[in-house]
Every structure is written in C-alpha cells, then in structure tokens.
Symmetry: C2
Subunit: 338 residues, 2 copies
DNA sequence: GAAAATAAGGAATAGGTTTTCCTTCGCTGA
DNA sequence: TCAGCGAAGGAAAACCTATTCCTTATTTTC
C-alpha cells in the first residue's frame, strides 16, 4: 500500500493525468461511450497509477442509490442473530451491498431511533432479526424501503418474515428417535408462552401420532436453562422411569437433562437417547456424550431473507406473511444405536 | 408513518412549500444565518410535514465526511468480538457515526477485499477485532484512515491495539484465591502458543510469588475445551491430590475441571475453589456451582478503541503500541468461603 | 435628513461522478 | 463540391445540500 496516498484522488486528476476531459475519463473507466482503445488504456493506466476510487457518495447521489442496507437486531448480536447475519451478509456482499449494523438492545426507543437513522442514510432495505422467533411489533408500517424479518416475526400480516420450521424440527427429532428404536419419548422444553416451544412440541406429538404412538406424558414446559433441564429430567424420570428417549427444546436444556440422566444411572445413548435443539457448538460438544440436535439452518434463513430483500429492492412485488425454512438433524453420540 | 411517502423529499420541495429559497431553508433547518423566527418556524414546519431528511450523501460529498466507520472481524462476530462491537457502537453512536459490518471469516483475501470496499466507501476509520488477542498481520500500512485493533493485536508496532490485561487478570484470580485462604493453587489453561495463556499463567505465578508462595506444579497447557478441562483436572489431582484451588484459562476449561472435581469427590468450593476466565454467561451459569471468573470487560475495550478512533479521526496524533484494559473479578459460588 | 449599520433572505458555488447532448474532424458517396 | 455520416471526445447538466457572498429593505445614529 502506498503510504504517501493521504490525499484522495478524484476523477478530475485522473482526467488531467491522461490528458482528457472528465466525461471521457468516466466513460473510459466505465466502458461507456465511443472511445479509441488507446485513450481508454491511457485513462485506466492513469487511474491505476494514482489509485483512483470513485467516490460512492457522488455515485449514489447521482444514481439515487446507496447500495447499503440496515441490519437491526435486539439480540445484541447473540447466538441466534449472528449466523443469520452472516448468511445475510453473504447474499448481500455478492451484490456489492454493505451493511449498517444496529443493535437496539431490545429497547423500542433505540429501535425507532435507529430506523430513523437508517432511513436518513438512505438504506435501500432493512433486515430485522432477533433473539427468538416470537412475533414482535412491526418496525413501522409503510416505510419507504422494503423490510424483511429474519429469525423473528412481525406481528403484522403485511410484513414478511423468515423463520425456522420449528414444527418440522420437532417431527425430525421424533422420526429419528423412532427410527433408532425408541418408543417412549419424553419432551422437556422452554416456556409454553413461546410459540417456538409449542410448535416443536406439536411437531413431536404429530410425528409420533403418525407412527401410531404418543409421547411419554405431556410436554414439560419450563425455562430455556440447564437448571430446568436437570429438574425436568427428574420430573420425567419419576413419572416415566421407563423413558427411552428425551427430546429437548434447546441444547442447554439437553445438557441439563443429560447430566441428570447420568447421575440417575442412565447411560446415554444405551439406556436413554437425547436430542437437543439449536446445534450450538460449545453446548453440543461439551455435552457428554456429544449431542444429536436439530439445526435451524440460521445461515440459510439469513441468506433467504437477504435474497428476498434484494428482490424487493430490485422492484419485485413485496412478499408478505411467513416463510419457514426446514431444519436439519445433526447426528452425534447421544442417539447412536449400540 | 405515512405510507404514501414513497417519494423522497428534498430540501428544494421544503423550500418551495415554505416559500423561501433553498439556501434559506438550509439555514433555517440547521440554525445558521440570520432569519426571522417566523420564517424559521415555517420552514421547519414544512420539513416536518413533508418528512424531510437531509440526504447524507449530499452532505458527505460537501463536507468531505461520511460519518461512517468500518468494523472488520475474523471472529464471525462471535463470543469475543460482539461485546467489543457493542461497546464500540456505544461510543460511535453517540457521535452519530454509523458502522459498516464486515466479517472476513479469517480469510486474508476476504479481509483485503473488505478493506478496499470500506476505503472506497470513504469510511473515516476502521476497527479490527478478532477471536483472540494474538498478534496478527497488520491490515495494511499507511492507510488513508486511522485504524484501531481491539481484542486483537497488530504485529506491527506502528499500529495501535487495545487488549485485555491478561497478566493482571491472572493476578486478580490469584490474589482472590489467596484471600479466601487457599494456598495450593493449580492452573489448567489453553495452548502455550497463545500469548493470552502465557500471560495469565505469568500473572498467577507472579502474584503468588509476591505473596511468598508458588503454584501447585507447572501450569498445565492444553486446549481451550471442556474436554481438556476434564483431563487437566485429572492430571492435576494425580500430581497434587491436596490441591485447594484451580485457576482455569477459560470458563469452558473451568467447566470441565469442575465436572471432574465433582466426580472425584471434591466439593466445590468447600474442598477446592475454581476460578474461570471470560465470564461467558451460559458457561458460567450452567456450571455447578456457578463460577467465579475473570471478566475482560470487552465492552470497555470496544469503547476505548472507538474513543481512540474518534480522536484520531478528529485529528489527534495517532496512538501507537498496545493499551491494556484491566480485567475484573466476578464472584460466584465456586470460590465462596464456607 | 443623510449616512451607516443591521436584518432578512436570495443567488451562486462547491463537492465528484455519470450521462446527455454537442462539436469537431475526417471521410464517403453522389 | 457538398451533404451527410461516423468516430472521438468535450461541455454541461444533474444529483442534493451547506455556505459564502450579495442584495434589498429597514433601522439607527449623528
């Protein structure tokens, strides 16, 4: 890198260096207009030599575009929103679009503030993401740019949200456990007020019903914590000492469940199989044994959300409603067939 | 929000609506110039009514400023870089500066690419952050904008890096354990090739030496994993069955250590105290008992880095070298005095 | 009552780039 | 010989805002 390049070069200087007018320089660099090949080469050489970079502000001003989008999260860019974000960045980066990052810390005032700021900056679209897929208030109706919700859901039907298929994820776990020969399957999960928890439980129950069976007792709704996983496992073992598998609403819960199972003398996976949800690496790998779990494909969710946003920016009619993305199962020790 | 506002309003329209010239409108909105109060009010009212927002591209073009900075990370915005980022965002947001997010996935090609893009976008500064504080190649010498490394360290002495005081963190843990009456203190930590691991070990050893004692055996260098924590604890217990405390290089290691201690019949904190490093909530709280740990104050690191960047942007002479930020101790059950 | 000062606001310029429209020049064809 | 054409590239407008410099009208001061 040339350290003497403190001064920012403009196309004017390039034009002067090449001995042409500004307009001609622009045409040469952008492959427009009718120019002699020699001229074109002379201009590009000058631009190269001077380290010219077109000023995107001037370009944007002229074209009325900024090639930027805003990414708003309340998750403090946590475990869920980050993979989403990375997926989105992939899709956007390919389109030469840069991303403004805004963390609202789940504060509606801050959120409003950030949205204002993004609009002032003339972003061409906004992606909203969150900590859980629960419905949340719309970020604002009738905004001048398209908005896509990813890994969170707008309460308004007019908005477009991309979320994981929790029900399908539950079913996936159920069918896997059945396929490994477990019949009596318990379920320890998060608070019932969470749609995600309810849908995962439904997926489990429905898949079992399809196979002509049912879960071992009602789903145990509690907290999204390891501590609850430990308690839940105790409750489950007392009510159903013959349980053969436990499907858990999160990897953290699964970790608590695994610990209690072990402490109560159950071997995993020989006596009891365990399936988690989230595929959160540090949890899943710290588990003993390593945990089979459902992956929500967060990156995919982000990518799809970004692609929809790009299409909307491109003028496609805005999508509405909810799009669910299939989950996938990641196999590890905790459900191995011995 | 008015949904009929698809068209973006310019100051020209505001001026027309208020019956004044463009220049006057600008002055009215920015509180410059000599204007009658009534005129000023008329203009602001018109701007309000039309939903006028000054175009930042035009402003930037004119002022030669963009009020943006780039944030480059190789951590995939993981556990370490996120808090740093949030701290930075705090400091920058206050200055009305927006942040472009770039994840390099630790790929130098991508990194170079992103830096180019950021410079093309005329960011006023760049923050580089990472997964660990290890020295890394400079992002480029003689860039036209100031660069600050946060939670990572440039290999070049000409750059400026802000990192946690690992040595101090180790000393903090040591003194706390001594204060709770533990004398024989073991250390299980990450790979020796990591500067962070070596410094934490040094901090421990030095603080113990100051108190006229020494650690229980050499530091056990291994991996940054729970699995290593379990193994390390076994090794430690075999060599020093009378160990009274274990200082761990990370919370994950501490978690593994705690498990093994329990399984070997040691009660925490009654028989053996445990201190972790990172204060990573899900790990620390899933631990049994909850873990006393060293917090690197990542948010503070980000904030300080951002403040230095702002100063450099403001024209202050660029700082060089390394600035360390003190760690703090977070007390929980695992070192309680019974 | 005239000169000077002040208040209020308009006109014009700058900032960097792209694009549209012109100009110039050499050449072709009738 | 001259109208017409294509090639090559220049001039200027446009994008939007902030600021500097003017102009005009009103008020103050002697």
């Amino acid at each position: 890198m040339s350290s003497e390049q403190a001064h920012v070069v403009t196309i004017r200087e390039v034009a002067a260096a090449a001995g042409v007018s500004i307009g001609t320089a622009s045409k040469a660099l952008n492959g427009r207009g009718k120019l002699r090949e020699e001229t074109r080469a002379r201009v590009t050489a000058a631009a190269e030599r001077l380290g010219f970079r077109p000023n995107p502000l001037a370009q944007g001003l002229l074209q009325g575009r900024t090639y930027t989008v805003g990414l708003v999260t309340g998750d403090s860019f946590g475990r869920f929103s980050i993979p989403v974000m990375l997926g989105a960045e992939d899709a956007l980066g390919a389109g030469q679009i840069s991303v403004f990052m805004c963390d609202t810390r789940d504060d509606p005032i801050r959120e409003q503030h950030y949205v204002e700021r993004l609009l002032a900056r003339r972003v061409e679209g906004i992606i909203v993401t969150g900590r859980r897929t629960e419905p949340r208030p719309s970020i604002g109706a009738g905004l001048p740019v398209p908005v896509v919700y990813a890994m969170t859901q707008s309460a308004s039907d007019d908005d477009f949200s991309v979320i994981p298929d929790d029900r399908g994820g539950g079913a996936l776990a159920a069918r896997h456990l059945l396929a490994t020969g477990r019949a009596r399957i318990g379920h320890v999960t998060g608070p019932e007020r969470f749609e995600a928890a309810r849908r995962r439980a439904e997926g489990l129950t429905d898949a079992l019903a399809e196979a002509g069976t049912g879960p071992a007792g009602e789903p145990l709704f509690g907290e999204w914590t390891e501590e609850w996983g430990r308690q839940g496992a105790d409750i489950l073992l007392r009510a159903h000492p013959d349980v053969e598998a436990v499907f858990c609403g999160s990897d953290q819960i699964a970790r608590g469940v695994s610990e209690t199972l072990r402490e109560r003398g159950r071997r995993i996976p020989d006596d009891v199989a365990v399936v988690g949800f989230d595929n959160w690496e540090p949890m899943v790998e710290g588990c003993r044994p390593p945990l089979t779990t459902v992956d929500m494909n967060l990156g995919e969710i982000g990518r799809i959300a970004a692609e929809h946003l790009l299409e909307a920016i491109g003028g496609a009619p805005r999508a509405r409603g909810v799009l669910t993305v299939p989950c996938s199962l990641v196999l590890r020790e905790s459900t191995r067939v011995s």
